[in-house]
Symmetry: D2
Subunit: 341 residues, 4 copies
C-alpha cells in the first residue's frame, strides 16, 4: 500500500483526488494539508469517504510519504515544489507551475516570476498516453491542463501520422463546464451569471494556448475557450484541413490504431457518431470522434475536466510512477451522470 | 457468482440496474430482455460496461438464472410475474405491480384490473431496512416507489417510537428530479418545459400516496409531488406535530439509534444541518435531517430516485435474498455528482 | 411625468426597478445613487436602456424628486429613510426595514437595533391589493417580501372568507429561484452549489415568517423556504384544513370573486390546473390554484420574486401613490420566459 | 391598424409571433390557423395575451387580411404559399421553404421536391438590414434561419469591406439553445438528454450551411452546430484570417460604421468585451464583438433564436413591408432574462 499526501484540498481538483483515491486499492491518502482549516465543508462526501483530517501546511508532515499530489494555486505550487521534492520521491503537480518549458512564459501568462526555473527542465509533462517512459522514473510530474489534454490527445496522434495539411491553421473551439473555473465565488461563477447563459472568454489570451502550442511544437494552433452552464465536461471542436487526399475515414483509422490499447481513450467508430459530454462525465476517459466537413475535417474531443482533465490523469500518472496498473482507482463502473442517457 | 436477468432495459430503472451491477463482485447480468430491440442507444455506458446483448422477451431465456430484475411497465410486470416465478427462484419487481395489498387499488390508481391478485399476498414489500426477515426467503419482492422510500424511512421509525402526535396530519411535500418521470419523450419532459420551471403535479391523486398510507397504516399522510429541473434526486419535506414534550432533538435521537448500523441511511447530526440532493446523488444512501419549527417539527429526507429509490434498493434486496453483504455493488466510492460540492 | 430616484442600484431589486421603469410612460428615473461606483456592469441592459449615470449616495441628489425607490440593504435602508423622507414626498422601501410593526423583531430576526422605530407605525405595508386606501396618501411604503406576497395573497382572502378551519395549522412549503438569494457571490450562490441541487434553508428561523404572521394575525402559519436551481420565481405550496363542508371548489370561488377585478392576480379555474413558474416569470402577476387533497386543501401560489415579489410591486405601489393606472410600466406584453412553453 | 393572420401556431415560432405582436401598436392578429386544434395549451400567455381563438386551416379564413405570417413546417409552407399569396398581399414565411434560390437544394437538404420553384425567384430573403429596398415592395418574404442571421450580419459587412483575406476559410462554430430544435418531444429534446450535456450535431450536413453560403456567395464558409442546455440564444464564434495589415480594430470600425444607425444590431466597443447570450435573450438585437487571436480574428455574434432569429425578424420585416417604424412591437424594454445579470 502506497501512502500519499494531498497538499491543497479546498479546491475542486483536491476534492476530486480525494473522491477517486477513496476507491483506489493500492494507494492510501495518509495526509491532507491545506492553507484553509478543513478539507471541506461538513457535507462533502458525507457517509462515503473516510477522510483523513486536514491540517495546516507543514513540510514535515509529508516526510515518509511515497508521493504528494500538489493541488495548490500556480504560484504557491511553484514555491512549494522544491521543498516537497526534498522530502518525498514523487510530486505530481496539478497546477500549471511546471507545465511550460520557457520560464519567461510564466511572467507573460501567469504574472509571476518563476522562483525555481531549473525545475521546468526536469519536470515530466504528464499526458500519460504520450509520456509513459519519462513518467516511469519521474520525480516531478506536471499534470496537463484540462483543455490541453482534450486538444492534445487527438492532435498529437494526427500530427504524428501527418494527417493535417502542413499549412493548416488548427482552430480549437473549446467549451468547458463551470468546475473548470474553480471554486472561488465570484460574479462570474454566480448561478445567476452562468445559468441560461453562454459566453466566450480569454480569446487570444488564454493560458492554455501556449501550453498546447509548446507540446504540439507549432504556433498554428488557435484555442478559444467558452463557459458552458454545466458542472463537468469539456467538448473541444477542432477544425482542420487534412493533407490532400485524406478525410475523416483516414483520421479515424489513425486514431483508432494509435489508441487501440488505451483504456482511457475511446475513438468513436462512424456508427457511434460524435461524442458528447454525457459519454465521459465522471470517468477518466477521453472520447474522440471525427467527421468530414466538405474538404475539411472536424475533430470532436470530450473529457471530464476534473477527471482526465485533472485529478484522474494525476492518479493515472501516479499509477505509472508507482508501477501499478493504470486503471487502479479509475475504473469504478459507469457514472451516474452518464449511465442513463 | 450469481447469474441474473433484467427484463425491460430501455427505461431509466433498467439502465440503472445495469450501471450498478457492472460493479457487483458476485452478480453477473447474464441475460437482458426487452420489448425494444436493444438495451440502449449506442452511446450509453460506452467504454464502461460490458453489456450483454439484448434480446426480445422470451420466457425461456430466463431458465436457469438465479433471479430476475423486472423493470417492465406496471401492467406488463403484473402479467409477466407468474411466468417468471415458474422459471427462476426470485423476481424483484421494480414496477408498482405488487406493492399494494388491495387488488382493487390497481383499478383505482393504475387503471388496470390486476391479473394475478393472489401474488399481492405473497409479495414482500422490499423496503430493505424494514424487511430483512421476509426478504431472506422471498420469491417475489415488490421494490418500493421512490417517493415512498424517502417518506417511509423517517416516518416508520418515528411512528414506531411514538414521536408524532396521534392526531397530527403528516404533510409530505416532496420534490423529484426528471428521471422520476420516466424516459418517454412528452410535452412534460421536453427540456423547454422543465428547465427554469417548477410545478406541483398529481395533487390528491398521486399513486404513491396509497402505497405510503398502506405501509404506515394510516390515512393521515398527505403526499404532494413536484417536478424539479434536475436529473436525479428526491427531497421530501415532511411537516408533523410531535407528541407533547418532544422536538427535533428527540426525533433525531430516535432516528440515529434506529439507523445507527445501517450502511445506507445517514441521519444528520445537528451540526451537519439538513441534507440536500448533492449529499445523495449517485449513491444508495438516504439522508435524513430534522429541525424544530416552533412547536412543530420538519423532517427532510433525501435520496437518489434511481438508486435507493429504485435500482439501488433492488440490488440491496437481491443481496439480502442471496445472503450476500448488502453493500455489494453499491459501495463504489463517492459520486461525481456529489463529491466536489 | 414623475421624476424619481433609485437608491441602491447594484443589487437585483434595484436593477429590476430600472428594467421595469424603462417602459413606464409616466415615470422617469432621474437619479440613480449607489454606494458602489456604477449602476451595473457594462453589459447590463446594453442597448436596451437609457441608463442615467449612477452617482455615489448624497442626500441632496434626491431634492426635488417625486419619490425614491429605496433598494439598499435592510439596516442601511432603516438609517436612510428619515433623511430621504425630509426631501421627497414618497419613499418606497424595498428592504425589510419597515415591514414589521414590532421594533424588537428587528433585533431578533435582522440582528440590528432599529434606529427609527417611530417610522414602523406610519409605514404602509404595501401589499397593493390589500392596501390601496392607506397607500393613496402614504409617505413611506414598506414593500412586502417576495415569499410573503406569495403566501398572503391567497391566505388573506381565504381567511377573510373564513374558509380555513380555525384550528388548522397552515403549512407554507415555499420554493424560490436564486435571484431571491441576492447578488453576492458566495459558496451558496456558486453555480456548482445550486445547479442540479435542491435544499431547504432557514427552517424555523426564516425572516419572512414573522412578517407573514404579523399580516395574517396568527402564529399558526408555518413557513419553510427552499432554493430552486432556477433564476426567477417562487412557488408556494400551502397545505390547510378547510372549515367543515368546504373544499377546493369553495376556496376557488372565494378567490375568483375577491380577485376578479385585479389585473395582477389570476386565479386558475379548475380547467387550468395548478399554476407553475412559467406562468409568471417576468410578469407582475401572482397565479393561484387550489386542489382537494382528501379532506384537506392544497393552495399553490406562484409569482416572480423580482417582479410581484419586489420591483414590480414597488412600481405598482408607486402608481397607486401617484394616482396613475396601476398597470403602467407593468404591462409590457408576454415574457420571453413564459411565452413559448 | 393592420390585420394579419398566423398560420401554424403550435410551434415555438408561431407562439413567439403571438407574444411579440401582443405589444404591437399597429398590427392586430385577427386570425390564427393551425393544423392542431388549439393555439396553445391553456397555460400559455395566460393573463397576458388576448389570444384570438385558433381554427383549423382554411384558405378562406385569410381573405381580407393585410398579411400572413407562415409558421408551418418547411414542406407544408412550400405547398401553402401560392394559395395564400392569391388571397393576401404579403406572406412572411418563417420556414426555410423559400430561402434557397436553387430548387434542387430542397431535394438535397430538405428531402422534398419543391412544389413551386418559381416562387424561389421572387421571394425576398428577409435579412432586414440588408434587404430594405426589395422588402418595401415584397409579396413573399423568406425569413432567414436563426444561425444564418447570426453569421450573416457580421460577415456580410466584413466581406463588403474586404476585411477578410480572400483565401481564408471562415469557420463558424455556432451554439444554440433548445428552442432552436423545435417543440417536438423526442429523445433529443428530453430534459434528461440536454441538461448537463452538450453536443455537436449535423456537422457537414446542416441545412443552414447552404443558406449561409448562398447569401455570402462563397463555399468557404464552414458552419458547425452545437446544442446548448439553455432555452434561448445563439452564440456564433467565427474564426477568420484578416486581409494583411488588418485586425480586430479595423473589423470593429467597419462593423460600427455599417450598423451605426441600426436599432437592432449592436457592435461592442473594445471596452464592452465580447457579447454573451444574456445580452440578447428576449430582444430582437444581434450583438457583435471582435477580438484579435494572434494574426487571426475571432468574431462573436449573439442573438435570440426565436426573436432576431425568427419571429422578431419576421415582425421587423412586416414593419418594413407595411411602411411602419421598424421597432414597433420590438421595443418593449429590457428582457427579464437579461436585465439583472
Amino acid at each position: 500500500m502506497k501512502r500519499i499526501g494531498i497538499v491543497g484540498s479546498s479546491g475542486f481538483t483536491g476534492k476530486e483526488c480525494l473522491r477517486l483515491l477513496a476507491a483506489h486499492p493500492e494507494v492510501e491518502v495518509a495526509t491532507v494539508l491545506s492553507a484553509r482549516p478543513s478539507v471541506s465543508d461538513p457535507t462533502a462526501y458525507r457517509g462515503a469517504l473516510r477522510e483523513p483530517s486536514c491540517m495546516p501546511f507543514d513540510p514535515q508532515a509529508v516526510d515518509g510519504l511515497d508521493a504528494v499530489l500538489l493541488c495548490a494555486p500556480h504560484e504557491t505550487a511553484a514555491q512549494l515544489a522544491p521543498t516537497l521534492l526534498e522530502r518525498v520521491p514523487v510530486v505530481v503537480d496539478l497546477s500549471a507551475a511546471h507545465r511550460l518549458r520557457n520560464p519567461a512564459a510564466y511572467e507573460t501568462h501567469y504574472r509571476f516570476v518563476h522562483p525555481h526555473p531549473e525545475l521546468l527542465e526536469t519536470a515530466v509533462f504528464g499526458l500519460t498516453e504520450w509520456a509513459r517512459e519519462p513518467l516511469s522514473n519521474a520525480t516531478l510530474v506536471a499534470n496537463p491542463g484540462c483543455y490541453v489534454t482534450s486538444v492534445l490527445l487527438p492532435l498529437l496522434a494526427l500530427r504524428a501520422a501527418e494527417c493535417i495539411a502542413p499549412a493548416s491553421d488548427m482552430i480549437a473551439d473549446c467549451k468547458s463546464g463551470v468546475t473548470g473555473a474553480g471554486k472561488s465565488a465570484t460574479a462570474v461563477t454566480h448561478f445567476a451569471s452562468v445559468h441560461e447563459d453562454f459566453r466566450a472568454y480569454g480569446v487570444g489570451t488564454h493560458r492554455h494556448e501556449p501550453e498546447i502550442r509548446e507540446q504540439l511544437g507549432t504556433q498554428r494552433l488557435y484555442f478559444t475557450a467558452h463557459l458552458l452552464p454545466v458542472l463537468r465536461g469539456i467538448l473541444s471542436t477542432i477544425h482542420v484541413e487534412p493533407r490532400t487526399g485524406l478525410g475523416a475515414d483516414e483520421f479515424r483509422a489513425v486514431l483508432l490504431e494509435r489508441y487501440a490499447a488505451e483504456p482511457f481513450v475511446h475513438v468513436h467508430t462512424d456508427d457511434e457518431g460524435l461524442p458528447c459530454l454525457a459519454d465521459v462525465q465522471g470517468s477518466n476517459r477521453c472520447h474522440i470522434g471525427v467527421a468530414n466537413h466538405g474538404p475539411r475535417v472536424v475533430v470532436v474531443s470530450c473529457l471530464d475536466n476534473l477527471v482526465k482533465g485533472a485529478a484522474g490523469q494525476a492518479v493515472q500518472n501516479l499509477n505509472v510512477v508507482f508501477g501499478l496498473p493504470e486503471t487502479f482507482g479509475l475504473d469504478a463502473g459507469a457514472s451516474p451522470l452518464a449511465g442513463w442517457r
